[in-house]
């Protein structure tokens, strides 16, 4: 098992490096000279040359990458062009907000999705199944931002039950009673897609497991529903975990629209403003952190699956 973990961690290194390379090249891929984003539009040629030298942009690309990588490893992602503050500081605050929201949404999606999927499988082809699956399909197909705006219209405007703007006092989210109401609407909105996916995965997986012969053996041993449920859950866990992990990753990177609708001060919101202000270092830093987080999450999911399923080669 230790060997498996080490090997799997080692595999992630080249992936992380490639992610870094893409983020580094982002500056060159994006339209326009990177310097033109920093320098005032009417800057004289000497100033541009000076800036090039300051930023190391006159060196060959591989050397630039090495220098950049060296700084990134030490946590130096450069400074934001618009605020002048270190990118890492901005990103880490936003990341905390995004992770709080994503984890809350995933937990909700997991709890309700598992319940719906499990009920649908247990009462397969009955009205329970049909209602649960209608719910799941709706969750997957409804557009995020549309659901967000609908919830805002209903629960913040028509019936003002929950706030719809920001993360609460202080502008950043903390886990306490004053901030929790701010979490509700964005959490519900974000949970729709993973909820639908989890419900469908759980239903499919559980039905498949219930058809396996060992279920007959378990009934033949006299186990009651509770005892059999334990076996079903452990068999279903790896597949459900994989779906959840992937969704958590998507929620962290993919919530630009929802964070914008709710003005949630997370990474999506940050990306949005970085794009509109052409704040390349901020954009680069945010994307890099999110991508690395995704790589790390994948690693955790893989290790978790190996831990849960003894058949995976270790």
């Amino acid at each position: 098992m230790i060997f498996y973990i080490v090997r799997r961690v080692l595999y992630s290194i080249p992936i992380a490096l490639s992610v870094g390379l893409v983020c580094f090249l982002l500056v060159y891929i994006s339209p326009g000279d990177p310097i033109s984003a920093i320098a005032p539009p009417d800057a004289p040629a000497e100033m541009i040359t000076q800036l090039r030298r300051d930023y190391g942009l006159d060196k060959p690309l591989p050397e630039q990458f090495a220098i950049w990588l060296g700084r990134v490893v030490q946590g130096d992602l450069g400074r934001s062009l618009s605020t002048g503050r270190p990118v890492w500081g901005e990103v880490s605050v936003a990341l905390k907000n995004t992770v709080s929201l994503a984890v809350a949404a995933c937990t909700l999606a997991f709890a309700i999705g598992t319940l719906l999927g499990g009920l649908a499988a247990a009462f397969r082809d009955t009205w329970v199944d049909r209602i649960a699956m209608t719910f799941a399909v709706a969750g997957v197909s409804v557009p995020h931002y549309w659901l967000g705006m609908l919830l805002v219209a209903v629960f913040a405007v028509t019936f003002p039950l929950a706030p719809s703007m920001g993360a609460g006092p202080g502008g950043t989210f903390v886990w306490d009673w004053a901030h929790l109401p701010f979490l509700i609407l964005p959490m519900v909105t974000l949970s729709a897609i993973p909820l639908g996916l989890v419900a469908r995965t759980v239903r499919g997986t559980v039905i498949e497991i219930l058809h396996q012969e060992f279920i007959t053996t378990l009934r033949g041993k006299g186990l009651r529903s509770g005892g059999i449920l334990l076996h079903v859950a452990k068999n279903a866990a790896p597949s459900v975990l994989a779906v959840m992990g992937l969704q958590l990753g998507y929620l962290m990177g993919g919530s630009i629209l929802v964070e914008t609708v709710f003005s949630w001060p997370g990474t999506g919101f940050l990306l949005n403003s970085a794009i509109f202000q052409r704040d390349i270092p901020l954009l680069q830093g945010t994307i890099l952190v999110l991508a690395l987080l995704f790589v790390a999450l994948n690693l955790v999911v893989d290790l978790g699956q190996a831990l849960l399923d003894p058949r995976i080669k270790r």
Binding site: K221, G222, N235, R311
Partner: protein, 346 residues
């Protein structure tokens, strides 16, 4: 109730058992009027081609069929308990404790993500309120009983980490967790290599003698049946068509189908052979013929055979056949052989 029963009372008593699976398209008649008894500590082998209803018959003794689609009628008594009438609750306390079952393919019949030890202890703890340590200790004893080497380590092994033979032994250990009075074995050696097959058969025989269980053993292998059975019942299209002590049946089969299975010349030496092919194929269980289901393939068939299902005939107190022209009574047969058939009666 069982306390009032005398020793001669059968462990299993099945009368006019019918099992059908109902679906929107059709009704499949898998078992069509089966009667048999099993004495305590006796081994009955149910022999038949694939699809003849052996597994369905076996599973009926625990009512392990999918409840919603299955129609069971008739009488099934195991140790005095009426299985057909029992509630799910009663059934779950009988299953694994009074009756338990081993399956053909231990790889799929054991839960792949639970250890062998856990699959034994959960059965023990389900039926007997013992501590975890006590259950663990008994699981170890069970693995030793089924002769799994380095039993202590194997408690923590997952099914896929064992060889086919050890896996089947583990399956047997799971089935024996609470020392049932009746063991149902559904082709437990079919998936194994020949040498491993013999070892597992010998193990089952030894354990049966040691624990004094009744065993119903399903197989399509004549050699296996001859090895383990006290009595053999041959099944065709959901009916028992011949039932007799193992030796007698293998030496001189009465039913044309069984004669066919054993081949033209029946000698004691033919034991150990696999079933031979008979021209034609078994009937469709969705649309059974009115009369004898074997008639389309039978060389002795006559119009009466197709008029109604032949009655079960007792050729001797321990020997029945469901045929109008059993070998011993066939008109074309030389008198000497017909006489020989009658002589077998005790």
């Amino acid at each position: 109730m069982s306390a009032l029963q005398s020793q001669s009372q059968p462990l299993v008593k099945v009368r006019d058992l019918n099992v059908a699976f109902v679906s929107k398209e059709a009704t499949l008649h898998a078992v069509n009027g089966v009667d048999f008894d099993l004495a305590p500590k006796e081994t009955l082998c149910i022999l038949g081609e694939s699809g003849s209803g052996k597994s369905v018959t076996l599973r009926s003794l625990m009512r392990l069929h999918p409840p919603r689609r299955t129609r069971i009628t008739g009488t099934i008594q195991v140790d005095g308990t009426d299985i057909v009438a029992a509630s799910e609750r009663e059934l779950s306390s009988i299953r694994g404790r009074l009756v338990s079952m081993i399956f053909q393919e231990p790889m799929t019949a054991l839960d792949p993500v639970f250890t062998i030890g856990k699959q034994i202890t959960e059965t023990i703890r389900r039926h007997e309120g013992v501590s975890h340590q006590e259950a663990q200790r008994r699981a170890l004893d069970l693995l030793e009983l089924v002769q799994i080497p380095s039993a202590r380590q194997r408690l923590d092994a997952y099914p896929h980490e064992l060889s086919g033979g050890l896996r089947q032994r583990a399956m047997i250990a799971v089935a024996l967790s609470v020392r049932p009075k009746l063991l149902l074995a559904d082709e437990p050696t079919t998936a194994l290599d020949a040498t491993v097959q013999i070892q597992v058969l010998l193990l089952l025989k030894r354990i049966q003698a040691e624990l004094g269980m009744g065993v119903i053993f399903v197989t399509h292998d004549l050699g296996v049946a001859g090895e383990i059975a006290d009595r053999i019942a041959v099944m065709y299209a959901g009916r028992f068509i011949e039932e007799a002590p193992a030796e007698a049946l293998l030496e001189a089969p009465e039913h044309p189908y069984v004669e066919g299975l054993l081949g033209a010349t029946v000698t004691p030496a033919s034991r150990g052979r696999r079933l031979t092919a008979i021209p034609g194929s078994p009937p469709n269980l969705r649309t059974l013929p009115v009369g004898c289901a074997f008639a389309p393939r039978c060389t002795s068939a006559e119009p009466n055979c197709r008029a109604a299902v032949p009655d079960l005939r007792a050729l001797a107190p321990d020997r029945t056949v469901r045929c109008i022209h059993p070998a011993g009574l066939r008109p074309s047969m030389p008198p000497a052989m017909a006489f020989a058939a009658e002589e077998r009666a005790p």
